[in-house]
């Protein structure tokens, strides 16, 4: 579809006098993975619920898949995994999917097929007769993902999808998210696991106390100052002198016991400078052992942006 799948402007949500969201602006392109980061109570879940039409916005407007939020048409093509979901415990996996599939208006035959498919896909195949009452936390999470996808939605909201899932399962869910992205679905992800977010997201936004403090693509956020690590077997005296002479910004990395012991982080201003430095480093008698690109991690960005906010507000 043309244009953004999600378009939010000036969104504010108040619970009585408490402002959970303040003037949030947002736009998500189709076929991308959008991640929302923020501390506990930042308003991430609130934002998702407003976008789903579960909560009514106090101010501002939002459009989902080209429809106003909360409209039935929009809901037809939206999938949602709530954070603290409590699915009716008397259901089994298949009957729960059957129920939600029925509510979504999926024809009977089609429903049957999809239920089998999704149970297998989330790793619940063979556990068809177990009631949700007897599910483990991870199993609940898995059935939650299946119910969010059973109707083949175009836009999928996942609120902490890997919460309570074991490392293998987490990996599976991550692969699933990438598969969905490949299929052209748009994903809206809430997560505290920055590593995970970094692996799947195209764009990331950071929410702090209801305000959007940063928003951008992963490279925009983390790649603003790319640097390289040069690792030498001995002290690269000649290389250091060249760096000094050229005025290239650099710093020694204190890594006790690391091998090789001498590592320097270098911030070359241009590709040409970088190429020249690589050549010179190779010629250094200290012996170049490795060359590694270094980006700011999402964690750095995240902590920094929250710290900045705090500094401003303090």
């Amino acid at each position: 579809m043309a244009g953004p799948v999600l378009c939010v402007s000036g969104l504010t949500k108040r619970f009585r006098r408490f402002e959970a969201l303040v003037g949030v602006n947002l736009s998500v392109e189709p076929g991308t993975v959008f991640s929302l980061l923020g501390q506990n109570g930042a308003g991430k879940t609130t934002l998702i619920k407003v976008l789903l039409g579960i909560l009514k916005p106090s101010e501002g407007t939002a459009q989902v898949l080209g429809f106003p939020v909360g409209s039935v048409q929009a809901r037809r093509k939206i999938g949602y995994l709530p954070e603290d979901h409590r699915f009716p415990e008397y259901h089994t996996g298949p009957s729960l999917l059957e129920f939600y599939g029925g509510l979504q208006g999926i024809p009977r035959q089609e429903r049957r097929k999809r239920i089998g498919f999704w149970l297998d896909r989330v790793g619940l195949g063979g556990r068809e007769t177990v009631r949700i009452r007897e599910y483990s936390k991870g199993m609940k999470q898995r059935i939650g993902i299946a119910q969010a996808l059973i109707h083949d939605p175009d836009l999928i909201f996942l609120d902490e999808p890997t919460d309570g899932v074991d490392p293998v399962g987490r990996r599976e869910i991550r692969d699933l998210m990438l598969d969905l992205k490949r299929m052209g679905k748009t994903l809206f992800l809430n997560s505290h696991l920055l590593g995970e977010v970094e692996l799947v997201s195209d764009r990331v936004a950071i929410l702090n106390k209801g305000k959007m403090v940063r928003e951008g693509s992963l490279t925009e956020l983390t790649g603003s100052r790319p640097s390289w690590i040069f690792g030498f077997a001995g002290d690269p005296i000649a290389f250091r002198q060249i760096l000094m002479a050229k005025g290239v910004q650099c710093s020694v990395m204190e890594k006790p016991g690391a091998s090789p012991p001498h590592q320097w982080e270098v911030f070359p201003e241009s590709e040409a400078v970088f190429g020249e430095l690589v050549k010179l480093a190779g010629e250094d008698p200290a012996g170049l052992r490795f060359l590694q690109p270094r980006r700011e991690s999402l964690e750095d960005v995240y902590l920094k942006s929250l710290g900045q906010r705090e500094a401003v507000s303090a």
Binding site: K49, L52, I78, Y80, R86, Y90, H91, S95, G105
Partner: protein, 466 residues
């Protein structure tokens, strides 16, 4: 399709909560109890036929709820005090001289003094009939009028034979052959016992017959007091309690979100869920009442359909209470509160009804008292102002008029039961008679409140953040 999905979900929920078990167990216990019951016809044919004749003779000048036969007051049930031997009264127009059973149906083993026996009667006709109408006329008169209780035939007059013509001093004597219709059983006295005869409830073999001894009245007693009366209240409260958790469970945080994101409007979601509860209770009521009805009918041989009317009536009032509990639980998100709300509403309506009835009764008593002679002086007692005209009385009466009137549930069904079990106009004279206001209006008001509560619940659910 969405409705089916919600319904199937509710069925699972109900299965999980063992609602069907409860329905089955209650139904089973009632059926088992019913099966221990027996209605045994007593050999009292002459009494019954005597009553038929009093019914006929009284039929012409009957006006009030009580009428007089031979100077004695007779209650209005058409089934009078014991009739021994030959019945003869000065103002009776027909007199039974002799009655004997002439034909036994195949399975009758005792002396044939049974509601299924055919009878040969010898009657003496009063001069009015014999003289004014002539012999052939009295034959057609008897064929037309004999053996009816309140215009409903219970026997067929097969033949009328003039035995001896009367003269100026003698009365016409005729011989009648009568064949019983199924309705004859209902006016026949029966011995009613439970626990395979272990507990006798009614038996008039050693005492004069009362209206309650007739089978029709016994079943009426059973159905209207036990089933329609007590049974309804228990069934209603139980139903509301059983289904009160349906909607709160759906509204729980973490559950409601997964439903609200589906392409279905909130009011529909709530209404469908509400209808789910309604369907279960309809099912449960049908099963239990149907089983009880079949048991009673099977045991008594009287297949009266009026009891089945209880099914829609219970469901109807359940719908009202369920809408209140739905509103209560949508507003508070608590099952317990929803249930309490429904019970409180029910109890308030009950109190209101009691208040209204008391006002009426006290005013009636005052009215009667006002007609009595004044012991202190001339004339009659002065009548004070009516309570119904006071502000309090007006408020009570007015509020009562515009609120659901659950007390009228039973009165409606009871009336139908009477009409069905008590043969035609007898019903009007029954000691069970209750004052019935317009039941259509009553139902309309209750329906209105049901819809109102449901609409309110839908509005709250739609416009409030969960």
């Amino acid at each position: 399709m969405q409705f089916i999905a919600i319904l199937k979900d509710s069925i699972r929920e109900a299965l999980d909560a063992r609602i069907f078990w409860i329905i089955g167990i209650i139904g089973g216990i009632l059926v088992l109890l019913g099966l221990t019951m027996s209605f045994e016809p007593l050999p009292m044919g002459k009494v019954v036929i005597g009553n038929l004749i009093t019914g006929l003779t009284g039929a012409e000048g009957r006006q009030g709820p009580q009428r007089r036969v031979g100077g004695r007051r007779v209650d209005g049930n058409g089934l009078f005090e014991a009739f021994q031997g030959i019945f003869r009264q000065s103002d009776a127009k027909i007199v039974l001289l002799e009655a004997k059973a002439i034909n036994l149906t195949a399975d009758v083993v005792n002396d044939g003094n049974l509601p299924t026996s055919e009878w040969k009667l010898r009657l003496e006709l009063a001069p009015e009939i014999a003289k004014n109408r002539g012999a052939s006329d009295s034959e057609s008169f008897l064929k037309e009028h004999f053996g009816k209780v309140a215009n409903t035939p219970v026997v067929v007059v097969k033949s009328v034979k003039l035995v001896s013509a009367g003269g100026s001093t003698k009365l016409d004597q005729v011989e009648l052959e009568i064949v019983p219709l199924p309705g004859f059983r209902r006016i026949w006295p029966h011995k009613w016992s439970m626990f395979f005869g272990g507990l006798t409830i009614l038996d008039c073999s050693k005492r004069p017959m009362t209206p309650f001894d007739a089978l029709g009245n016994q079943i009426l007693l059973l159905e209207s007091i036990l089933v329609a009366g007590i049974g309804t209240w228990v069934a209603l409260l139980l139903s509301v309690a059983l289904t009160s958790f349906f909607i709160p469970a759906m509204l729980k945080k973490g559950t409601v979100e997964t439903l609200l994101v589906r392409p279905i409007s909130r009011w529909r979601l709530l209404t469908y869920k509400y209808c789910g509860g309604l369907l279960f209770i309809s099912f449960g009521t049908t099963v239990i009442l149907g089983a009880v009805w079949i048991t009673i009918s099977f045991k008594s041989g009287v297949w009266s359909q009026a009891l089945l009317l209880m099914i829609p009536v219970i469901v109807f009032y359940y719908a009202f209470l369920h809408s209140i509990s739905t509103l209560g639980s949508v507003v508070t998100r608590s099952a317990v509160f929803g249930l309490i709300a429904a019970c409180l509403v029910w109890f308030s309506l009950f109190l209101l009804n009691v208040a209204r009835d008391s006002i009426r009764m006290m005013d009636q008593v005052a009215e009667v008292a006002a007609g009595l002679p004044n012991p202190q002086g001339e004339g009659t007692m002065a009548q004070g102002p009516k309570i119904a005209d006071s502000t309090f009385g007006k408020v009570i009466t007015g509020v009562h008029r515009w609120l659901p009137r659950p007390a009228e549930i039973d009165s409606f069904v009871r009336t139908k039961l009477q009409e069905d079990l008590l043969l035609g106009r007898e019903a009007e004279k029954s000691p069970f008679s209750v004052e019935i206001s317009d039941w259509k209006e009553s139902a309309g008001i209750t329906l209105g409140h049901t819809v109102l509560a449901l609409i309110l619940a839908c509005l709250v659910f739609s416009y409030r953040d969960p």
